[in-house]
Symmetry: C2
Subunit: 315 residues, 2 copies
């Protein structure tokens, strides 16, 4: 995978790309599309006036509108970058304005639900290629985006059976041009994989931060002061966008609850090992988990810098 996004294409992949929702992901796509010249025209659509004003100031789109139906008109690629719970409303509102032959895609962290929400509303001749770029930060909004957000990250496509192969290939080319590696799988498998690599970790992080804030025996001030012992790592993902994450859990209910149940079984075993002083069991687990970290680093999904490369001062 390249170390940089690469130069602008001589011929754009698309004539007109409409982005619905200019938050962290939508605004990062806009920046990367602009940088690589992937579209002749970028249309930014958002229902929030403050966001639209900011997008104009940032000059990351060619056209800016709050009118969803007008915004998607004539676009040959429309990407939904909204919380997954909003997808059906968006699909219904825009369906009559979609151009024949257009590709509709999204960036949602849940895929089966998005397909169920969007697919029934799309007219014949429009292809739906659901996508999930596995990338992000804990910040939200158009200022949080940056062009290299997807560089060296995976983007998962989950086209429903029967999706036009040419449309899938165009989306593969699109995400490759944003610097991502692309993998195709079913929506059902995606939702299971992401439940364990993303959704349950977020849920656990939100939970542990909430529990710590509510203790009677330890003050919030103490939790904050002594957070460098490990707790602060959890606060990063527990600072992610509340609406986005509420929707993820509501729309990937079964897989999240299944993975959570599995996690709870393992926690019970671990608690038992602690209660009974079974040090070998603990040591074995703690040794095995190191190998996973090494795998993540060797596959380029993380750097080996200690403490996430948090800045060290000179002595």
């Amino acid at each position: 995978m390249p170390n940089r996004l690469g130069p602008p294409l001589e011929t754009p992949l698309f004539d007109r790309i409409a982005l619905i929702g200019l938050g962290l992901i939508g605004s990062s796509i806009a920046r990367a599309v602009r940088h690589r010249n992937l579209a002749r025209t970028i249309v930014a659509i958002d229902r929030d006036d403050a966001t639209l004003a900011r997008v104009r100031e940032l000059r990351i789109a060619d056209e800016v509108t709050s009118d969803l139906a007008a915004g998607v008109r004539g676009a040959d690629l429309v990407i939904l970058c909204v919380p997954v719970g909003a997808c059906e409303t968006v699909a219904k509102t825009m369906k009559a304005s979609l151009k024949a032959g257009a590709i509709v895609s999204d960036v949602g962290s849940v895929k089966a639900s998005v397909i169920a929400q969007v697919q029934p509303h799309l007219p014949d001749g429009v292809s739906f290629v659901p996508a999930h770029p596995v990338a992000g930060t804990e910040y939200s909004g158009p200022d949080a985006g940056f062009a290299t957000l997807f560089l060296k990250r995976w983007c998962i496509l989950t086209p429903p059976e029967g999706t036009d192969e040419a449309a899938i290939e165009r989306m593969r080319d699109f995400w490759s041009a944003l610097g991502s590696d692309v993998e195709v799988m079913t929506a059902q498998h995606h939702d299971l994989v992401l439940a364990i690599t993303s959704h349950v970790p977020h849920l656990i992080a939100y939970n542990i931060v909430g529990t710590a804030a509510d203790l009677e025996t330890v003050t919030q001030s103490e939790v904050i002061k002594f957070s460098a012992g490990g707790f602060r790592d959890f606060t990063r993902i527990a600072a992610s966008d509340p609406t986005m994450w509420r929707d993820v859990f509501l729309h990937n209910k079964e897989a999240v609850l299944e993975m959570l149940a599995r996690l709870n079984e393992d926690i019970a075993l671990l608690a038992r090992a602690i209660r009974w002083g079974e040090g070998d069991k603990l040591h074995d687990l703690f040794t095995r988990t190191r190998a996973i970290r090494r795998g993540i680093i060797s596959q380029g999904q993380e750097t080996p810098e200690p403490d996430f490369g948090r800045r060290r001062e000179d002595p």
Copy 2:
């Protein structure tokens, strides 16, 4: 708090400091003591020959030995930097060699157990001032240490009742000189606070990484590939030293199990909210947890950089 460690003292705080265990913490203390001239002589004691050889190469101590009794002789400060489960053996082995008036301290992540292990073996005239610098990385060994590890971090002292006040003050000065803020509390309260800010987060991280590795429905390769969705944050602390952490859990059993039970109650409530589609409850929690993150950043225990400041490439 200063941005740097500060210049060497004109007059060292101690004549002879003996460090027992030259891993991440012990070797960081050695480097910081040298940098600030806190001791005329630094003695490095370790039972591992490879560690001792490396300490010699790194030139971070003035004397290097595997002989614990000989190493502590004449020291006016002796700091145990070993896994908490090893403290009693160390105390027994060194007790006859301790100098009258010496201060013994430690850096263990658990305090009540360390006091119970060490205190009974110390001769009259030797003060025990247990300490816990809340700082570290996921790496181990003498090469992992660095002089600024404790800068802007908290160090908690938990002197047993009746400890000589002058000895406590000297240890406060010592840790301040390493760049830390110092707080004094009881060992019992320390163990409760750290259970939630450090021990349970580590346990949960080890557990979630272990669970992910053992799933039948999702491959280990998929877990690694798609770890940027949140999972990889957990793998950092789940890569911490297995022996150190085994000992932490075995020696802070009650507080860890109590906090874990509390966490499990909260997880059950959250799972119920997901099952019943109670989006407002989820959104409320996810909003509250953001405030804790802001507190940690505003108190200087974390920087505001997105994604822990993981390196971004230029486009």
